[in-house]
Symmetry: C2
Subunit: 271 residues, 2 copies
Amino acid sequence: MESWVDGQPADVLSLKNRGLAYGDGLFETIAVHDGNLVLLERHLQRLEAGCQRLALNVDMSALSTELSTYARCLGDGVLKLIVTRGDSLRGYAADPSTPARRILQGSPPAAYPTAHAEQGVHLFPCTVRLSEQPLLAGLKHLNRLEQVLARAEWRDGQYAEGLMLDTSGRVIEGVFSNLFLVRDDVLFTADLSRCGVAGVMRAELLFQAKSQGIATQITDLSLEQLHQADEVFVCNSVYGVWPVRGCGSARWSVGPLTRKLQTLARALLDA
Amino acid sequence: MESWVDGQPADVLSLKNRGLAYGDGLFETIAVHDGNLVLLERHLQRLEAGCQRLALNVDMSALSTELSTYARCLGDGVLKLIVTRGDSLRGYAADPSTPARRILQGSPPAAYPTAHAEQGVHLFPCTVRLSEQPLLAGLKHLNRLEQVLARAEWRDGQYAEGLMLDTSGRVIEGVFSNLFLVRDDVLFTADLSRCGVAGVMRAELLFQAKSQGIATQITDLSLEQLHQADEVFVCNSVYGVWPVRGCGSARWSVGPLTRKLQTLARALLDA
C-alpha cells in the first residue's frame, strides 16, 4: 500500500528532513488485523512519552485519524509509523514550533516460519553491545545503528533473533524483540532505564501476567541468570511470543508460562 | 544550490531509505572555498573508515567526481555529504551488495559572528552526556540524537557552543566541534575511542602542531584538567578555531598557541 506523509499519499521525503540528517524522530511498528491497530493505546502512549522526551511537536489528533483510516485501507499487515522533527537548515538547533512530520508505511503481514512460534528459536549471541544512555533508553527512536550492526552479525537462518547485552554485560533484549525469562514461577525482564526499547508487547505481557497473579520482576539480568532460567522467550508487537530454545551453549525447553503468554499474545494479534 | 542524489539533481529521497529509518549512514560537512573542497583528503579518509566500519558499499570514484563538480558549481559555501545504506524493506537486515546512496547538499558560507574567532566564545555546560560505544566512536554517523538534545539545552546567544562530557564524566568535545586545551606548552585533546566525532580539523591541527615541534597528547581529560588549562579552544572544518573564554565558572584568556593554530586553520579555509 502507498505511503502517506502528513495524511497525503507520498513515497518521498525532503532531503532537509531531520529524520534523515540526525535520526531525529521516533517510530512505531504496529500490527494491523482486519483493519484494527493492535495495542494501539500502548503504541500511542510510548510515542507520546518519546515526543515529550525529545520535545517533538506532533499533532496527535491528526495522527490518530490518519492511523485508523490507513489501517482500514491496509486491512491486514504491518503499519510502520515514523515521526520526525520535520525539516531544518544545517545545524543541530531546531525550531521548537516546527510541526513534526507523520509518515505511514504499510506492508503485508510478517511472514515468519510458523516453527518459530511452535518449536521455538535460537538466538545468535551478538558481540555488539548496547551503549548506556538514560535519556534515550526505552524510546523507539530513529538512532538504530547498534541494531543494524548487531543484525549484520549473522546471516545463518538457524538464528531467528540475536541476544544483546549492554556495555556493562547485562542481558537486555533481542535486536528487534524484548526478552523474558522465567525462574521459579517468577517472570523476569530487563530494566530498560539505561538502554533498550520498552516494547509494547513487553508492557502488555507484564500487565496480563500481573493481572493473572503471576509474579513479575523488572530488574538487571546477568548472563548467569539467563543460563539458569527455567524458560526463556522473546516477544514483539508483530509476531507475539517465540519460545527460546538456545543461545550459545545454553539450552532451554519450552515451558508452560511461555505457552500461556504466547496464547494471550496470539489472541491480541488475532482480535 | 540544488541538491544531488547519486549525481542527479533532486530534493527528495525515498521513504524506504535506511538513512531515515535507522540513521544508517554517515555524513561530512566540507568547507568549499573558490570551488575547492577544504581538507578533502581527510574528509574522504574518515568517510572511508566509516564505510568500512559500517560495511557501507560506496562508489568512491563516482563520489569523488560528484564532489569536485558540485564544489565548482557551489563556489563558496558549505557542502554537506550524506551517504546512506540505500533503500530496504522493513527490518534491520541489509543486503550487503546494495550500493550506498550519495547525497550532496550545498549552503552559503557559514555566517558566524567574527567576534567568535576574534574575542573567543563561551561554552554552555551541557547536561546531556555522550554514551560510550567504541564501535561507533570517532565516526560522523547519522545517529545524532545526543547532539540534538544537547543543542536544545541553550537558546541564549551568549553561548556559541556547548561542552559535552561522556557518561563517565570525561571531557570529550563540543556539540559540533572538537575541543583542545593547552597546559605547560602541551596541546591536549580527548581520546575518542569510546565516543565523540574525530573531526577533520582536529586531525589537521594535531598534524600541523606535531610538524612544528609542539608536543601533543591524545588522552582522557577531566573537568579538573580543563579548568586548570592555560588555553582552551574549539575547532571544526567550517569555522576553523574559536578561542574559549569561559564555561560554567571557569575562565581562560586567549593564548599564543590558540592564535597560532587559528591562523593555520584560517589559512587552510582561505586557500
